[in-house]
Amino acid sequence: MKRIYVPADSTALAMGADEVAEAIAAEARRRGLDIQIVRNGSRGLYWLEPLIEVDSASGRLGYGNVGDVDVASLFDVGFHDGGAHEKSLGLIEEIPYLKNQQRLTFARCGKIDPLSTADFIAEGGLVGWKRALEIGPKATVEEVLASGLRGRGGAGFPTGIKWRTVAGASGDQKYVVCNADEGDSGTFADQMLLEGDPFTLIEGMAIAAFAVGATKGYVYIRSEYPHAYSVFRAAIERARAAGWLGADALGSGVAFDLEARLGAGAYICGEETSLLESLEGKRGQVRPKPPLPALQGLFGKPTVINNLLSFAAAPWILAHGAKAYADFGMGRSRGTQPFQLAGDIARGGLVELALGVTIRQLIEDFGGGTRTGRPIRAVQVGGPLGAYFPEKLLDTELDYEKMAALKGMLGHGGLVVFNDSVDLAAQARFAFEFCAKESCGKCTPCRIGSTRGVETVDKIIAGRNPEANLALVRDLCETMTDGSLCALGGLTPLPVLSALDHFPEDFRNRAVARAAE
């Protein structure tokens, strides 16, 4: 039976993948053809979605941007046997965008049926977990430490040190908690993995749980990702049925079980302590640290709380060894980062590469520049709390230290491209506005400062006393940076100050410009 792969990834669905799958099923019925439609995840070549694939002797063949209207003509040319069509992309793994990546964490994504345990195992799943069980908890922690893996959520804290702290903490109950509250605009890696290869996350969390002695895990998924939530819950059921979860997880003799929980539309719950509060059923208000979540985390128990991408890197590290992972990357930034290309971009999607690639390589070589064809003016790196980089800094290498040196951050690896129509004063205003809307309210600089920031930028935009108000904004940013407990209030100044520093012309002489119009 011919297999036809039509992604059920939610971005592919937003591009019309369900309609294509239905049209293929109907057309095959009409023609009396016996086909099987596999709903895979996305390859991350999102600009080509719906991207359907068929098997061939030399590998999988792709057909991009397929609409339901194309289906009859695809059958006419025998696409299910690899027939050529104007939508043909050839061998999917030879497409430079995919071929030139270093897919470690996302190696299986798009290839397999996300809920097939057999597919997962056939493509190298469980190897890392089994190795962890062989070498024992202590050596597992050392392996992750030696890999140089750092928190992929934005803070960049060494994952192995976190695990070692929890492993060394005493407690009758320990937890592993996955932060899948991927709220940063321009990021979608968590969603893609949850929907395209959920067992990898389960394996990564199981490895962490084994390493630190935790028996229960929670995955906190944002409510804006309902599809990811339902796919992941189904994956948990399958994993349980396969004996991977439960009282004797994977035959290890150790218990481990998982539960998926849904957020409720609060951006702040991507902050780890706020997420823990939310899981406990409270307002998502930030906790002061110390105590560290590693010692007193969920329900007051020692807790590993990691970003989804950090957990998802663990299976590869255990399977291939710390050195193999650390061989990727530069400086103190080891391994790969799933970068995500967004905004005004011709070829938006996920690009997993070793840390150290430049912004320009990503958005020009992979992304193909802007979709509108207008010149690039700014690239925001690392989400709403990341800096806006001007054209002259696009050759900056993406690693934790280089970003910090330029008063930016890597964040969750999202890059949002803006063309020359962008007004950076409006973007700075938005950074404050977003902070005001999403502040948990605990710290005054964040709660009140963000609103004062919006007002002050409004005055600058209106041309009222711009020099004094610009100085005021900088002063306010300093207060927010120094006086906020968490990254929301503390990092909102990054986009604001980068806009001021790199694009001062958007803030000055607004009144003059307005009068001239």
């Binding site: 591009m15 406990e280 977003f434």
Partner: protein, 159 residues
């Protein structure tokens, strides 16, 4: 449009009871009620408080903290338009202006009508911005024309 059940205190009581013993049951309970009724009824607050042995003030504090837990049902169709950075870069504010100028529809107006349009920050389809949800279905690479079709569809389903 999504059909939701009318508020039913007795049924809600059993929905709440089904989860009350889970650790950190508050959000799962609120999500169950939201799924069932489309909003969190005022009468639910004391029911949840009693079941979880917390104060009504604490319960209300949680409900009001999260954007999802709306306090009134939505009449008609519900559209959520992403207005975060990636969609800004791809022209979502032009779509907001188009909704206003062409269709007389405001965003976040909290007015009742056949279509309610709200801002959402990020649906994770940023590679193919701008994006929106209409009654639970996601749409990417929106244009004015696609939006016109969605508005027509929403008006049709609301009748």
């Amino acid at each position: 449009m999504m059909r939701r059940a009318a508020w039913d205190a007795e049924e809600a009581r059993s929905l709440i009871a089904a989860r009350r013993d889970e650790p950190g049951a508050m959000l799962p309970i609120l999500h169950d009620l939201l799924d069932r009724y489309g909003y969190i009824d005022d009468e639910a607050i004391p029911l949840i408080a009693a079941a979880l042995n917390v104060s009504k003030a604490e319960t209300l504090g949680v409900v009001s903290f999260y954007h999802d837990f709306r306090r009134r049902p939505v009449e008609g169709a519900l559209m959520k338009l992403c207005r975060a950075e990636s969609c800004q870069a791809a022209g979502c504010e032009d779509l907001v202006a188009h909704l206003r100028d062409r269709h007389g529809l405001g965003v976040d107006t909290h007015e009742r009508g056949p279509i309610t349009i709200e801002t959402i920050y990020c649906l994770g389809h940023c590679a193919v911005s701008p994006t929106a949800i209409l009654d639970g279905k996601h749409y990417a690479r929106l244009t004015r024309e696609k939006l016109d079709a969605l508005v027509a569809q929403a008006k049709g389903s609301a009748q």
